[in-house]
């Protein structure tokens, strides 16, 4: 039981990271109906940016106060990753509107290969570790059960919650969010009533990148290490989360992320010899099963194909 609760907390931490990445997938899919295959690698890139900015702050500017450094890392990471994703959209996806059906996906696969190899060439193939932070542990003892939570898990969940709220406010309460939702419903109609569709799509990519950058910083904080190939698996799992929650649905992405995080950590608790190694198979199977039997996910709208 104690172990279960412990894994529950670990799962929620992992799930918040997946949820943040999943929003990027789901928003882009919602607005232009494209699977942004490179999003996982954008996340990986943002984790590298976080590592470099962090090292710059602590080693070159000698900032010893970690929360301040983390704040600067988050802001710098969000800005710089947004510039990356904006550029990617501009170069690799925008010219393809109106091209044949699979063109954007193929272009995104190319972009994904490019990004991971680019980071490998620019930063070397080795893992990049940073010193662990927020190591203190809170012990909670309640009714005979004891659970320990690391400070960094609290930080991760708190930052995720705050940013999700800010993001929800942005999408629900601002003009920008309204334009975004309008484009999602009907791009042509939105253009007719004066919404700048190209700009809105760009902003969607920027928002997705900013949230992926938060996920990247949190990933580095949690695991303390990142390598150039770390974009693929979290990317696919976050996409699974988006699909499970119902692609196009924002609360669905967060819900799916938490579920995938929980399933992954709880799967590792299965005591049978040899089963825990298949945690990736579990995630991939969920992806396949959801897409085959329940393509609209848990919270998504069923998709109607118009001729």
């Amino acid at each position: 039981m104690d172990q279960f609760l412990q894994q529950l907390i670990n799962g929620l931490t992992l799930g918040s990271i997946y949820g943040l990445i999943a929003i990027g997938y789901t928003m882009v899919f919602g607005i232009i109906g494209m699977i942004n295959f490179a999003h996982g690698d954008v996340f990986m890139l943002s984790a590298f940016i976080a590592v470099i900015v962090f090292l710059f702050l602590t080693q070159w500017l000698h900032i010893g106060f970690i929360p301040l450094a983390l704040l600067v890392v988050l802001i710098a990471g969000m800005v710089l990753t947004s510039v990356w994703n904006w550029t990617i959209e501009r170069i690799a996806y925008r010219p393809l509107r109106g091209s044949f059906r699979l063109a954007p996906l193929i272009s995104a696969i190319g972009m994904s290969t490019f990004l991971s190899n680019f980071v490998q060439v620019a930063q070397g193939p080795r893992n990049k570790p940073i010193p662990p932070m927020f190591n203190q542990i809170i012990h909670i003892d309640y009714a005979g059960h004891s659970v320990s939570i690391q400070y960094r898990q609290v930080v991760i969940m708190a930052v995720t919650a705050v940013l999700l709220f800010a993001f929800w406010w942005l999408v629900q309460r601002t003009n920008l969010g309204r334009a975004q939702r309008a484009c999602e419903q009907d791009r042509k109609m939105a253009a007719l009533i004066g919404v700048d569709v190209d700009r809105t799509i760009s902003i969607t990519f920027v928002i997705g990148a900013a949230l992926a950058a938060v996920a990247g910083a949190m990933y580095v904080l949690q695991y303390g290490v990142v390598s150039f190939s770390d974009g693929f698996l979290p990317g696919v799992k976050a996409f699974t989360a988006a699909v499970l929650g119902g692609i196009g649905s924002l609360p669905g992405a967060v819900l799916g992320g938490l579920m995938i995080g929980l399933i992954e950590t709880l799967w590792q608790m299965i005591p049978t010899q040899g089963v825990p190694e298949y945690k990736d198979v579990a995630a991939f199977s969920i992806l396949a099963i959801t897409l085959i039997f329940m393509p609209s996910g848990l919270l998504g709208r069923p998709e109607i194909e118009k001729v």
Partner: protein, 459 residues
């Protein structure tokens, strides 16, 4: 903004180029400007500042934007309407001349290489160029059936390649079966897997199908990694029996091919044989594809690629059409896989990553989906080109001398160029190098297809 570029003049162009350079600066700021390097003693990461590459990239972006804007200022050419006539001019050259010439060259290639470089000098050119490229040509042609003809984006193609490789490996090491018996078995097994995995995903729309095939590919790879008793895990399986020529092995010992034919042992004999085997397999793939294209099933594939809903409304059974494409593509991947295993003598899950799928997909996409010649040329250009990257010693010395990049290795740029090529191709020429889709029937003379034939009562 773009349309009115010509009316704005130099200041506008300069401003645009400056913006491009500044964005590049922002892109390069953390990831290129600082290199993280682990300290020798403490293994703590340290930052190394480097400015030259950032400035180079900024200059490139500036110049690139200028060129793009200059190109936009030219009067736009009117695009020619694609015609459905027999190809002429440069297209006829590609269709009718390159094919036979290329075929001739492929058969003559080993002879040329051996004659030119001698038996030992030719080894590298046979192995890492000839055989390697032909494996990818075959995989490209196999995937072309699925992606190019049927229009189903299969991102897990390498799984069937793995099925073929492991089928041969396990049958040969476990039951001592020879390559020639295992080859068709491997193909059929892969086709079976193609059907098993294909069946549930066929209802899905294009990009969902792509993702599910990707998931299946990764599941198969993860199982190969973790099911150690079955597949040897990450360590893989080594000492796979080599290929035989009617029971004669290619080795320096008794009862070998060389001894039987009274020749001195030379490793080139085995390579030559492997070369012609994979050439034969690849040509079978090509032939089958070309013939099937003219059959109803091939036309159904291409119709499916163009419009699935229209297909269904015309009474084409989309399930069987898709399944045959999937199974046939998987079959050829299985053949290629077992050839891969017999050539390497070693298999491990490492060879069947998603990157491999992406490479094969890149070959098909760059070559022009649906074009056999294009796919072959793309395989030669990509695989041969990247093999050559390993040998660019002069580029390495140049980069070390002028940019101080001591750890520069051209081979590292393989994947980077791959990815970039795919993006650029999609943007510039989405139909690939050889973008002509040769129709399977031509209207060579006028026929009456006018109103009087389709009047009421005439169907």
């Amino acid at each position: 903004m773009d349309a009115s570029a010509d009316s704005k003049g130099g200041a506008y162009v300069f401003k645009e180029a400056m913006i491009a350079a500044l964005i590049t600066l922002a892109l390069c700021t953390p990831i290129i400007m600082f290199r993280t390097e682990a300290d020798q003693n403490t293994s703590k990461l340290e930052l190394i500042f480097r400015l030259t590459p950032v400035l180079v990239f900024m200059a490139l972006a500036f110049a690139g934007r200028l060129v793009v804007l200059a190109l936009r200022m030219r009067p736009a050419r009117v695009k020619a309407v694609p015609s459905v006539a027999p190809p002429s001019g440069i297209r006829a050259f590609f269709t009718y001349v390159i094919g036979p010439l290329g075929l001739l060259f492929l058969f003559a290639y080993p002879v040329i290489v051996v004659w030119w470089l001698g038996p030992s000098g030719a080894l590298k050119w046979m192995d890492s160029y000839g055989i390697q490229i032909l494996i990818y040509v075959m995989l490209g042609w196999g995937l072309n059936i699925v992606v190019g003809l049927a229009g189903l984006l299969d991102l897990g193609y390498v799984a069937f390649y793995a099925v073929g490789a492991y089928a041969y490996t396990l049958l040969a090491t476990g039951f001592g079966l020879s390559f020639w018996i295992c080859l068709p078995i491997a193909g059929v097994l892969a086709a079976l897997w193609g059907m098993i995995l294909g069946f549930p995903v066929l209802r899905l729309r294009g990009d969902y199908l792509a993702i599910v095939t990707l998931a299946f590919g990764e599941i198969i790879r993860t199982i190969l990694i973790n099911w150690t008793a079955f597949s040897g895990g990450t360590a893989g399986i080594s000492s796979i029996p080599k290929i035989t020529f009617f029971g004669l092995v290619f080795a320096d010992r008794e009862n070998s091919f060389d001894e039987y034919f009274g020749m001195d042992y030379s490793p080139i004999h085995g390579k030559l044989f492997l070369y012609y085997v994979i050439l034969g397999l690849a040509l079978i793939t090509n032939l089958v594809t070309l013939r099937l294209r003219r059959l109803p099933i091939g036309r159904a594939w291409e119709a499916l690629r163009e419009d699935e809903i229209a297909c269904r409304s015309l009474g084409i059974n989309t399930t069987t059409t898709k399944l045959t494409a999937f199974a046939l593509g998987a079959f050829f991947a299985g053949l290629a896989g077992s050839f891969f295993a017999v050539r390497q003598g070693f298999v491990s899950p490492e060879s069947f990553t998603f990157n491999e799928s992406a490479t094969i997909l890149a070959i098909v996409v760059l070559g022009g989906m649906g074009s056999q010649i294009g796919v072959a040329l793309a395989a030669v250009a990509l695989i041969g080109g990247f093999e050559m990257l390993r040998e660019l010693g002069w580029l390495k010395t140049f980069m070390v001398d002028y940019f101080g990049m001591t750890n520069f290795d051209p081979a590292q740029y393989r994947g980077l160029l791959f990815g970039l090529a795919m993006v650029v191709m999609m943007v510039v020429r989405p139909r690939g190098f050889v973008s002509t889709r040769s129709p399977s029937i031509f209207l060579t003379r006028r026929t009456a297809v006018s109103g009087d034939l389709v009047k009421e009562g005439h169907g």
